[in-house]
């Protein structure tokens, strides 16, 4: 046999180091190839018209742009209609919960977030450059599953006690006092809340904190809280699904989910002393009666203390909430693959939602924005910049 073959068969021990050296070389080659692959492939993430200039004349949105957003399940039915009917750019909205939307914006994995919860002071401190702008408003509806029972009345104290676990039975004295003459079943209340970070939870717990000092001191309000009792479900969809399928449950969702799925909901006592059902009118009344100050356009960041809950009017629904669009004021913060055309497209989309988009709101039971909020929003839109220059939008 020739010498090379004998070496192959015997495989002397000393050759192992050579082998491991070969391993190292091959690993390095693989790493270099992968890095080059990545540099070449992921150079640009979306189609863009870096080379073309938009034609002069009437305002046109740069064509073929795609923008991504994520957040609130509360406003998803409206967002879905908007993204389907808005054809100037391709808008992709993922309904994952306000908390996740805000996180995704913070890590810049999406271009904008939608949230029913404004940024908390801690979140504003971490990301000071985020603009929040209300694009709609809706009612947090108390849903329940009690076959054969007509519309129930609730008040803040009773709701807080139910969610604290102090009231455990449907035919408890408190519920019976609120609803005299109604036959309430002798069954445990199955409490349902959100398991994910939720703007709907924020609005609901904010209301409970205002109505019950026990709630405020033990639980307080945020997108995620430590619920004293109850089962957590995911999204407005999960809560409405669970309530719809399971008897003796109580939950809180946006009005559209209750109506679209035929789920019973109750009226809530407002500060004026009336039991008001959630509806377009009662939430619109709440916004009309809002007497607080809106954040100035130049400081369009702090909506944390703006609330339209417990407004004083006679027909105001007490658990109404704005829902906000959020993004970075200096839009290049979104990353090197985010272009100025995309910034144009994004702001143009937002501009469309607060004008043309509002005509879609009513049929889905979201409240169209009143003029003063629209004006405030328009001022916020002009505050957006890309690399220092104002973002032009249509």
């Amino acid at each position: 046999m020739s010498t090379p073959d004998r070496e192959m068969v015997q495989k002397p021990k000393g050759s192992n180091t050579g082998m491991w050296a070969a391993v190292a070389v091959v690993l390095i080659v693989i790493v270099v190839v992968v890095v080059g692959f990545e540099a070449g492939w992921f150079g640009k993430s979306s189609t863009n018209n870096n080379g073309t200039t938009p034609p002069p004349g009437p305002c046109t949105v740069p064509s073929g742009q795609s923008i991504t957003g994520a957040g609130s399940t509360f406003v998803y039915p409206l967002m879905y209609t908007w993204e389907t009917d808005y054809t100037a750019s391709s808008v992709t909205y993922s309904s994952v919960g306000s908390g996740t939307g805000i996180s995704d914006l913070a890590s810049k994995t999406v271009d904008f977030a939608a949230s029913d919860a404004p940024l908390s002071p801690a979140q504003q401190a971490t990301d000071p450059n985020v603009v929040e702008m209300p694009e709609s408003a809706g009612a947090v509806t108390i849903i329940y599953n009690l076959p054969g029972v007509p519309t129930l009345k609730f008040n803040g104290t009773v709701l807080a006690d139910i969610y604290l676990g102090t009231i455990t039975n449907w035919n408890s004295t408190q519920m019976q006092t609120l609803n005299p003459g109604v036959h309430l079943p002798d069954q445990s209340i199955v409490v349902v809340h959100r398991s994910d970070g939720s703007g709907t939870s924020f609005a609901f717990t904010e209301y409970l904190s205002a109505e019950s000092s026990t709630w405020k001191s033990t639980v307080s309000y945020a997108t995620s809280v430590v619920w004293p009792t109850g089962t957590g479900e995911k999204g407005n969809g999960g809560v409405s699904g669970y309530v719809q399928q399971t008897e003796y449950t109580i939950g809180y969702v946006d009005l559209e989910y209750a109506l679209a799925n035929g789920i019973s909901y109750g009226s809530v006592l407002n500060p004026a002393g009336n039991y008001v059902l959630p509806s377009l009118n009662s939430t619109a009344n709440a916004i009309k009666d809002f007497t607080g100050t809106l954040p100035a356009a130049t400081d369009a960041k702090d909506w944390y203390n703006v609330t339209i809950e417990n407004e004083p009017g006679a027909q105001d629904y007490p658990i109404s909430t704005f829902t906000y669009l959020m993004s970075y004021q200096e839009m290049s913060t979104l990353g090197s693959s985010f272009t100025s055309q995309q910034a144009d497209a994004l702001i143009s989309f937002w501009n469309w939602t607060i004008h043309t988009g509002q005509s879609y709101s009513g049929q889905l039971y979201y409240v169209p924005l009143p003029q003063n909020i629209v004006t405030s929003d328009e001022a916020e839109l002009s505050a957006f910049t890309f690399n220092g220059a104002a973002v032009s939008h249509c």
């Binding site: 046999m1 073959d5 192959m8 068969v9 192992n16 082998m19 990545e38 992921f42 993430s45 994520a70 039915p77 879905y80 992709t92 993922s94 309904s95 994952v96 995704d104 890590s107 810049k108 994995t109 999406v110 479900e233 995911k234 999204g235 969809g237 999960g238 409405s240 699904g241 719809q244 559209e256 989910y257 109506l259 679209a260 799925n261 035929g262 789920i263 990353g335 693959s337 049929q363 039971y365």
Partner: protein, 299 residues
């Protein structure tokens, strides 16, 4: 007297027989209950859409409130069949070649302490919970390229990490079963070692390799936990490698657990039944290959 067993011992024997039988009946019973329950819940969707269930896109959001789209359409789950396909193709393209070659190394060149350590580490990887794998991929992709955190690529990477230990293990085990005499004969004939591996030993273990690949695909195909972190639901359907995607198991979760509409829930059950069917088919294939004792599959 020899030959008689006391009543007490006979009763014990009989009782244990019955108890053990009851356990088997229970397990088979649960299987029957789960499968029939799933089929029963899926029936409305199968009746409503028929074969269209597998060719049509998801139904439009409907509403029982006046003015909304009426809720009488079941739509289909075609986008998630697409999604599963793309995701599994990517994951397999990554995991199977790497896994097979790694298994080859461990079996042919790795019969030494260093090789055994590597093999052990791969085994350890098999024990990592899938949600932790998802967390890992999320963190790495977030650091590397935030815009593709929710994409087919990150989902494929996570599934590939889950598939990898299965492929490595089955490749290594099956190649180790090839008798040493085959290797020695090849070397004695003057065939270079790498060619003997590629042309003689690997084909000998081909049956088990295919089985291993099937098992790995079955394992990853049923996973949804890591994808909870890595896909931006509820967008379904393939719109690009850098966009989010939803495979069948994730749809079962989304439409079964987070969707109030009864039609969409029935679709979720239909997806669940489809998934069970696919898993069964893969299992049966793997079992069939083992039984037929294809070359190298002698396990």
């Amino acid at each position: 007297m020899p030959g008689t067993v006391s009543i007490r011992r006979r009763v014990t024997d009989w009782t244990t027989y019955v108890l053990c039988l009851a356990c088997v009946v229970f397990a088979i019973g649960i299987l029957v209950i789960i499968v029939s329950s799933s089929v029963q819940h899926a029936l409305p969707a199968f009746q409503g859409s028929g074969v269209g269930l597998f060719t049509r896109a998801e139904p439009l959001p409907c509403s029982y409130a006046p003015g909304g789209i009426p809720c009488n359409d079941f739509g289909g789950i075609e986008p998630v069949l697409e999604g599963t396909f793309y995701l599994m193709v990517l994951a397999s393209a990554i995991a199977i070649p790497i896994g097979v070659l790694a298994g080859v190394f461990l079996s042919e060149y790795g019969r030494n302490p260093l090789g055994r350590t590597l093999s052990f580490l791969v085994d350890v990887l098999a024990g990592v919970p899938s949600i932790v794998v998802g967390l890992f991929i999320f963190s790495v992709v977030l650091w590397w390229q935030p815009t593709i955190v929710y994409s087919v690529i990150s989902g494929g990477l996570a599934l590939a990490v889950i598939m990898l230990p299965v492929v490595v293990r089955t490749t290594e085990e099956s190649l180790k079963l090839v008798p040493q005499s085959t290797r020695e004969a090849a070397l004695a004939l003057g065939i270079p070692r790498y060619r003997s591996i590629l042309q003689i030993i690997l084909p000998n273990g081909a049956g088990a390799l295919v089985t291993g690949a099937l098992l790995a695909v079955a394992r990853a195909g049923g996973e949804s936990a890591p994808l909870l972190l890595l896909e931006l639901q509820p967008r379904i359907g393939f719109t690009g490698w850098t966009h989010s995607i939803v495979p069948i198991p994730l749809l079962v979760y989304l439409w079964g657990f987070t969707e109030p509409n009864a039609n969409w829930q029935a679709d979720a059950w239909a997806a669940a039944v489809t998934l069970i069917g696919i898993m069964l088919a893969l299992s049966l294939c793997a079992r069939f290959l083992l039984k037929r004792r294809l070359p190298g599959s002698g396990m």
